[in-house]
Symmetry: none
Subunit: 224 residues, 2 copies
């Protein structure tokens, strides 16, 4: 499951690409201009960014430069301009790859695989500690009082989403969508079950949680 941010102002192309990418099990977010691209990148922390250089509000190369001030996430540039100068400028600004339009979808997919294959192990997903809990997002490991805690895949997934947005409220529907998919946005009973299991494994007093907090009627929050 790779989270992908697609920055493309042509909504027809954006939709077509998003559909194809999703069938290849990418989790796709779409941004339509440079400003929202920068915002989305910092809030949703994608694993890879696909960026069209021709944007309505700002120069694509400047978008790359801004991103590179704080993240190493692979950036693959799409462009209708096939000029040498654009390629060199984009690559030197920090892009990882450059694909000229028109391109084949298989080529884009192959370049995506190549990009994420060599992606540096993420350092911008640090180790989060809270009380006697230590949660290492990169290593997918949880310790409580120094001892490894065994989580099931779904338990881990739920915890991961909450910890990634630690301190902020995660709406029930958001959580369900990220873990189980858009079709499960109303299965709130899943959350009750899994939050209970996580509390049993992680909280000192599961009936009075201090880290996995319920916001009644809204959602859940991880409290560092």
């Amino acid at each position: 499951m790779t989270r992908l941010l697609l920055v493309e102002d042509d909504s027809t192309l954006a939709r077509a690409l998003a559909i194809t990418l999703r069938t290849r099990s990418y989790v796709v977010t779409v941004a339509r201009d440079g400003g929202s691209a920068l915002r989305d990148a910092s809030s949703s922390r994608p694993d890879v960014i696909v960026l069209d250089l021709g944007l309505p509000d700002m120069d694509g190369v400047d978008v790359i430069r801004s991103l590179r001030t704080w993240t190493q996430t692979p950036i693959i540039v799409l462009s209708a301009r096939d000029g040498q100068r654009d390629k060199v400028a984009a690559l030197d600004a920090g892009a990882d790859d450059y694909v000229a339009k028109p391109f084949g979808i298989e080529e884009l997919l192959a370049r995506l695989r190549a990009a994420s294959r060599r992606a540096a192990p993420r350092e911008d997903e640090p180790v989060v500690s809270a009380g006697d809990l230590v949660i290492d997002l990169a290593a997918a490991r949880v310790r409580r009082a120094g001892l490894d805690v065994r989580l099931t895949p779904t338990e881990w997934h739920v915890l991961e989403v909450l910890v990634r947005r630690r301190g902020t409220l995660v709406a029930r529907a958001d959580l369900l969508r990220e873990v189980w998919g858009p079709a499960y946005e109303r299965q709130t009973n899943y959350l009750r079950v899994y939050l209970a299991q996580l509390r049993a494994k992680l909280e000192a007093d599961p009936s009075r949680p201090t880290h996995l907090v319920t916001e009644s009627g809204l959602g859940y929050r991880f409290e560092p």
Copy 2:
């Protein structure tokens, strides 16, 4: 000072490229066919490889695959063939980038800069020990309680991937992709077989592993 291996059978083009690259302060070695490319790569340990796919003695994609069995050195492919299939095959075999001929020299230089910018910093501690195990990643050798353990190529490859990311979870699909290639991401039975074999050779009690740990539903982890 970057050491660069140029694999190109057209001697006119090879000479022209070598001259240009040297003026940009690359240290260039030239190989004229796949066989010498593989030899040179292992003897001179270049920092980056530029590879023409059209070689007299063997298929360029096979050259990539051979290189990728033992090194992560960035590979940039040059090719006169601009076909989708060639690109996808080369990238999936492990190439980092693909430049179609004719290309501008500035583009190639920019892609070289991009490739070495994101190159992983060299491993400084290639010998990993865990309990009575000693694993030498550079020498491809494993000892248990001082005695050499004999591993098959695939067993070693699996162990290598796990040990490189020691302590962190390696997802099933990641492991399959790195060892067998992207087409095998769902062949989870391979993992079951090879993990069992590795445990039989490396673990004190293979049915209760302490180093090669299963994370049910997620993947495997090497525990130092």
